[in-house]
Symmetry: C2
Subunit: 210 residues, 2 copies
């Protein structure tokens, strides 16, 4: 899916990082933060940070920096976190269970409302307080629980079939942990979580230091 | 850790993606691939791909494109995959177990040689054919199995202590799934796997389409 060119993909990926940093500063009761301090926290250049944040806050208050809470709220709004998306995890295997315990979902004000599997042993159990439902009933449960986002943690060979059911069940976003390039209708946004990038990058940098 | 400026971070992150695509093409017995075909597979611009791959292969054979196997091997070499790093997973919880079953490790010619935990119930068991060892014995097992890379899948509050043990045990790379900014000696490379980027990006793009 293509979107407006107003904001670069690289910058979109930095917004969650700024958001999490500001969230931590808020918990630590910091009221203001400079671009220099953010640069040190995040290992980014201060000029890059100032350019990224220009649309949210021109420069902050001179000598004090950015207002932590205000900036956090503006970034949250740009990220659409005020939608409080309802999230479901598809696949209650090890990865699904790990993601059910992942605090990033609640950190973004999202609600994990259901987990789905086809394994009769798992259906009816709970993971981190969230019930595992029969994926056969996805459509009716999705309607009832208003599921917006599905986290796809199923085997690759099931991925496309599951995605078809998700799209028919009014899911609008898929966070895809499989390595399949999903075909989805225009109204479904897919973000692929490609773990091979992290591992490959690590090998690359280790190789530079030999 | 800072590295030479010869290759941008963004490009380093694309190398594993090219590598996996070429691997799939090789399995499908394709001998040649054009930058246009790669562009379509990977949803990147053909000009970007040609610029990225210039250092490996000037332009490929006219009318045929890149030689799949040759290009794959050159990228593998740039990524340091010929080192056949030995990998250990630290933490045999849901995430560790999911990663033990992750085929990206073997796809990169890396070998998962051990899993570590402190839970007596888990020590001595196997996950995907790999034994779970007592983390207390990390140093001696690391020496014996020549562990290069540790995948850190432990709770945040244990992360720094574990990283200290890893560094002392001659680990040279950490793939960090915790949200802790690790302090490590100069000879240890850390790549942080920040899942919040994927989820935050998804929310951003969904919000654009409302």
């Amino acid at each position: 899916m293509k979107f407006g060119q107003k904001i670069s993909q690289a910058k979109v990926k930095r917004l969650p990082i700024y958001y999490r940093a500001l969230q931590k500063l808020e918990v630590a009761r910091k009221k203001f933060v400079s671009s220099m301090d953010l640069a040190e926290m995040l290992e980014l250049k201060p000029e890059k940070i100032r350019a990224d944040l220009l649309e949210f806050d021109k420069i902050g208050i001179k000598g004090l920096g950015y207002n932590v809470k205000e900036l956090k709220n503006k970034i949250a709004s740009a990220m659409g976190l005020q939608n409080n998306w309802h999230v479901a995890i598809i696949g209650a295997g090890n990865l699904g269970a790990a993601l059910a315990n992942y605090d990033g979902i609640s950190n973004f004000d999202l609600a994990l409302v259901a987990i789905f599997d086809i394994d009769k042993e798992k259906i009816g159990t709970e993971i981190n307080g969230v019930r595992v439902y029969d994926f056969e009933k996805f459509s009716s449960i999705s309607r009832r629980k208003l599921i917006d986002i599905a986290i796809l943690a199923v085997p690759d060979d099931a991925a496309q079939n599951v995605a078809d059911v998700l799209a028919e069940g009014n899911v609008r976003g898929i966070w895809n942990f499989t390595s399949v390039n999903l075909n989805v209708p225009y109204y479904v946004t897919v973000v692929n979580e490609n773990l091979s990038v992290g591992l490959g990058t690590l090998s690359f940098y280790m190789n530079q230091t030999i």
